[in-house]
Subunit: 441 residues, 2 copies
């Protein structure tokens, strides 16, 4: 039986998961593939560190080039993460004629154009299922299974740490800081949680998803990013009273010749399936013109779920090698000369529903002033909560608006913030309602 | 730009959807594939019928062989349905050197071995995503995306008609017959609903899923099938009181060297994601040893959702043709010489939790007799509902059991049915609880 040899660069959490999976399910993979896959070399920074997996003598090396240049190795699995040295490793591997499998979302989101161009000009496969959604096969689904569809939108809960924190805040009524601290103690948040809670990790994933769905190049600068840092638990509670859950939602929406891309804490109606995705789980809610609404749910991170995706990629590339083909499917789902005809939409132009919370002085005329500011910009109110009782003369007022333009909302907030009768700039969250309705129709 | 020519056999609902999709999204497909796909011929029974799609002169024909034998046509899309003439058409197409795409679940479930053997010996691709789950890409997911996994189980809500009827019965408290009648009037059930409500359609799909997951040959005779015909609405209501929804659940479960396959109305805890899949929607809940729990949700039937799956298959095969390969992936996910090492488990051997409803005489000693019958067979009671008040001296008693063996339950029911104190054989439903818990851990 043929044996296809691979080299791993990096043996952290995901690398260890990949090695475990290939070892533990080796026989199963042979039964399914008709050939074997074996790890010939693994490059690690520290040869003496104790590892969860055992390798035969000579497999572990500290020499990355020895892995890339091994003539028997046909696939390089880059699991270093971050931009450098991952970028140099990937480019060197492609130039050495190797196919590459990676789970590096930061690299693909920030330098994707250069990486994919290199893969294209070298005529090599570059697979990256592990970069988005952990074990959920969203890349294969968008690129292959739903190939017949124009996408109305792809929505995702793409960051498990944020979803865990929001679920805990919602269920226990704890504030953001305390919930984050507890999540860190349980290992659900990193020691430096900024990449997660500020929405950067989610945006990396969204950049890749938008590319696949709409044929645009990944572009972090096009994404409007708001994280969950400092989100007030009272907003989660008001949202709940109004019938919504708050999720860090990643949105790629097709708007004629434009693509709208946003990562924002967003209100989603309680009854919708996406609102029921809790804890560290991820999900993608995809609407295509042919398939209609569909959802994909699972573990979005972790040693083994991500390994499931990476090994699936290794098998796909190995099947191509075994069949003697490469480039069977364009890396980003579109032929390069055909793609990039859509442009990203500036945030000011988006139109959606909004949630507003204002702390206003409890005295006559204030509400008239506020509703006047909204009315002048054609922003109409859908529903409102005002509780009795005030703190230091201020009361919270919560409003949901009908659809309005972001630029108009921001201008209204600027004007409100300047009023003495309002205590600081109002809290603004987006509400996603309209696009999710179809799941019940 | 290269143009790959296909022939459709059959232009019913799905065939029309495929033609519409290929026409309407032709440019999109060219952008993604780098080549075109066009329908050269379509075989129909009646040339004069009015159609929703228009074809150029000479495309429609009543001569099936003219489609199969057209030397320019490389892919035959069989959308006739049923066993014959679909089987002969498929075999003839394979022997004529054509690749085949089909959505024919009955044919693959009942005669799959012969069909797949023929595809194998002809060295042709045979794709069938449209046969299971409508637009949900469950075939590709099991065969490719989750290739690294041993499957603990695959659960599915695979029949939209049944799920619609059960949802309506649950929400409105209507009985089975009235709900079925309303579903027929709305077009959610066929004029002859037997295939759906008796669980045959769901079992066809399960036979294919079990094959893909476990490498066994599709075998309808191995599946224990109970439909929803005559399901009593009171059981849905009692289940709800106990915290469960009733779904027609299709189950393929790996049990060491055996595979357990069942289609049964099943109680699922309210809080679980699978219990929230309502109306005509389908979903698959898959647990793998590497990926953990995952779920795939969407429209399980209909013109366009099924067309999304069929066109995805056409594109996959066309990509193989364009790359000059065939047989890149084994039809049923395992190399034929490696598969079929597991056996199907007889229904008597299954172990699960049960729901029992008995109509018992309202007099002393009866409960002692019943619990005695259960106790003798080591069937222990987890919880019980007995309402006050009786009808003609009989009262309903509902019980949930701990895990027990099906053979023991059936023997206990036989003994109970013979008692004068019990009014007819008790109602027995299965409860699925244990295997779904992981989604919350």
């Amino acid at each position: 039986m043929r044996d296809i040899k691979i080299g791993l660069i990096g043996l952290g959490t995901v690398g260890t998961g990949v090695a475990k999976t290939l070892t533990h399910n080796h026989e199963l993979l042979c039964q399914r593939l008709g050939f074997g896959i074996s790890i010939k070399k693994v490059a690690v920074a520290n040869l003496n560190k104790k590892r969860e997996v055992e390798f035969a003598e000579g497999v572990l090396t500290s020499d990355i080039d020895a892995v890339i240049n091994d003539p028997e190795i046909e696939i390089i699995v880059e699991l270093v993460g971050g931009i450098e040295p991952a970028k140099s490793i990937t480019l060197k591997a492609l130039k050495a004629g190797k196919h590459v499998v990676t789970a590096n979302k930061a690299l693909l989101a920030e330098q994707g154009r250069e990486i994919f161009d290199a893969a294209q000009s070298c005529g090599r496969d570059l697979y990256f299922e592990g970069a988005v959604g952990g074990g959920i096969p969203i890349i294969k689904t968008l690129r292959e299974a739903l190939v017949a569809n124009n996408f109305a939108f792809v929505y995702g809960i793409m960051n498990g740490t944020c979803n865990y924190i929001l679920t805990q805040m919602s269920e226990n009524g704890t504030n953001f800081e305390a919930t984050l601290k507890a999540a860190m103690e349980l290992g659900y948040a990193e020691a430096d949680p900024a990449l997660d809670i500020d929405g950067i990790d989610a945006a990396h994933k969204l950049a890749i998803i938008a590319s696949l769905a709409y044929g645009v190049a990944p572009d972090m600068s096009a994404i409007h990013i708001e994280g969950i840092r400092g989100l007030d638990v009272s907003d989660i509670q008001f949202a709940s009273e109004l019938g919504y859950k708050v999720k860090l939602l990643c949105m790629a929406i097709g708007r004629d010749d434009k693509v709208e891309v946003r990562v924002q804490p967003t209100l989603i109606p309680h009854g919708y399936l996406l609102a029921k995705v809790d804890d560290v789980f991820n999900a993608f809610y995809v609407k295509g013109d042919i398939v209609g609404p569909s959802m994909y749910y699972g573990r979005g991170a972790g040693m083994l779920p991500t390994a499931s995706a990476v090994v699936s990629d290794i098998c796909d590339v190995a099947r191509n090698i075994n069949a003697g083909v490469a480039g069977r499917i364009p890396h980003l789902g579109y032929r390069k000369d055909q793609a990039e005809r859509k442009r990203y939409m500036p945030i000011e132009e988006i139109v959606t529903n909004y949630y507003l919370r204002l702390n206003v002085q409890d005295k006559p005329g204030v509400m008239a002033r506020i509703t006047g500011i909204l009315g002048e910009r054609n922003i109409s109110i859908l529903s409102m909560i005002q509780k009795s009782g005030n703190i230091d003369g201020f009361v919270p007022i919560v409003m949901l608006t009908h659809e309005a333009k972001e630029a108009d909302l921001q201008a209204a907030l600027d004007e409100m913030a300047a009023l003495d009768a309002i205590k600081s700039r109002p809290v603004l969250l987006r509400v996603e309602d309209r696009n999710l309705k179809e799941q019940h129709s």
